[in-house]
Symmetry: C2
Subunit: 311 residues, 2 copies
């Protein structure tokens, strides 16, 4: 099969489009014929070797851990799906991924693809959607009427976080560059902050929840915006607990895993018109290097998707 593989950590030149063996599903696993895949920041963090201490990857490695496609073969004891089913997944990041014509995934990590969107849009949802959902629903437990600050609200995760927080009944403040104001407003934010022109304080204050996809200075500036008892959830770097304590708030870090239950909930939200993916850029699999460059630039709006196969 055609696949993008890495034989070492490094720059974009380690991403090689080459022939690779078609993987076989073991017990409890299914093989998915990939239609769409997506690029996430974790992909190039792994490519650069940033996570080599945490995740025991072996080379050659097929990166990419977002997929929408069609069940192609079913291993023994795998009973939840049959050949031909349309499915989507964020599979185990320790295994070979989805920049390939076929990927083998544990059936427990798969959910039925949302029926009203294409495989391409569906591929953009799993990793970013699970992240936004778990941060806001499971960790922050956003309640109706609460004030939620979403940083990078035009980004792949932020654009979903805004919609999930709105669906929970929250008041949402979104930050982005002014060029993305119309997009972010279309997602339903109650207040838009152009981070290049406005300081966070005093434009934003007294929030219950901060959703942090940026870390660093932005995270640091966010503590003072929280109400006592509020919570900052970061998906980029673990918040220093001393800072949280000094402000009388909670600081949580989220590094998500596969979660078919959340995927099923996200599919329901999409089909009910309450969640729409935002596609920022589309590439063929062979253009994976350009796709990684765009992701690393931090300038993508919405999600970066890859066209791998046909339905």
């Amino acid at each position: 099969m055609r696949a993008v593989r890495m034989h070492d950590y490094g720059g974009i030149d380690v991403l090689r489009v080459e022939d690779a063996p078609v993987p076989e599903p073991a017990a409890g696993e299914v093989r998915v014929r990939v239609v769409g895949a997506a690029v996430n920041p974790v992909d190039w963090k792994i490519r650069r070797g940033y996570l080599r201490q945490d995740i025991p990857h072996r080379f050659p490695l097929v990166p990419g851990w977002d997929v929408s496609g069609v069940v192609d073969a079913v291993g023994e004891q795998a009973t939840r799906f049959k050949v031909g089913d349309a499915v989507y997944s964020r599979p185990d990041i320790a295994r070979d991924g989805t920049y390939a014509e076929f990927v083998v995934i544990r059936e427990t990590e798969l959910a039925a693809k949302p029926r009203t969107i294409s495989h391409i849009e569906a591929a953009s949802l799993p990793l970013a959607g699970i992240t936004a959902y778990q941060a806001l629903v499971d960790i922050a437990q956003v309640q109706p009427g609460q004030r939620v600050l979403v940083h990078a609200a035009a980004g792949g995760v932020g654009s979903l976080a805004v919609q999930i927080a709105k669906a929970r009944g929250a008041q949402v403040i979104g930050t982005a560059s002014g060029a993305n104001r119309a997009l972010v407003e279309s997602l339903g934010v109650d207040q838009f902050v152009d981070y290049r022109r406005e300081a966070l304080a005093p434009a934003v204050r007294e929030v219950d929840v901060v959703f942090d996809t940026l870390g660093g200075d932005v995270q640091e500036a966010s503590w003072a915006l929280l109400k006592p008892g509020g919570v900052l959830v970061s998906v980029v770097n673990p918040p220093p607990q001393k800072r949280a304590q000094a402000h009388g708030v909670r600081g949580e870090f989220l590094f998500i895993g596969p979660n078919a239950t959340v995927l099923a909930e996200l599919a329901r939200m999409v089909e009910a018109g309450r969640l729409r993916p935002v596609i920022g850029a589309e590439f063929a699999l062979r253009d994976i290097a350009r796709a990684h460059e765009l992701s690393e630039s931090g300038r993508a709006r919405g999600k970066i998707v890859l066209y791998v196969g046909t339905p």
Copy 2:
């Protein structure tokens, strides 16, 4: 290039996947590398020869008149787009169409693709979207507060018509089978009618506008639902003027052409989160026969899309 061509009118067997010459853009034209295309009922009506009196097609013919893709070459005096631009179109139905790797289109028939959705979703919009928009906005001139009845509200055209009427501030009644209730309600209808279980009258009455994508008995049963001075717009068969006159209403027929102005407005609505395509089925270009079978069955929900190339 790979293309689906017909060498005669007939059944699905006349759709042949074969090699065809790459077309060259003449003055005022551009060549588009096709990423996504869509199947519309007019495609199989043309395939069967139903429109042979009206449209002077020559064989071999590349059918399909919905496309989203990337500008690949620009003819002389074509200045609106440049190579690499993402565009979408419903091109002139009298010329070779979009079931192909490349299609040549007059630049006046192209618009910039909506930025927040994939080429696959964008390909589903032009023909159906122009149809729904022109019927409701240009012909019926739907006003805020008016009551609009949309037949087949889960279909490719109806699902967009519901959203466009809602965006105009109308009260919308949508009909569909009960299996599509959740989908149709998610599009924003104020009233849902399961046409298999409920008679149109008395469930629906006193409407200002009927949008008819079904014709026949459904059109006939719709006259009595209109207020005096109301309008029925059909996109399938010309309403008998005697019937309209007898009810003191207007009966209009719409057969749309290319319209880049409407495409630009549809793109704005998509980017503003006011219009979302509904994808019902996805096929590879080589599976075009199955795609036509599904379209002819009348059982598709939303739009049928084709994966042709990569971005």
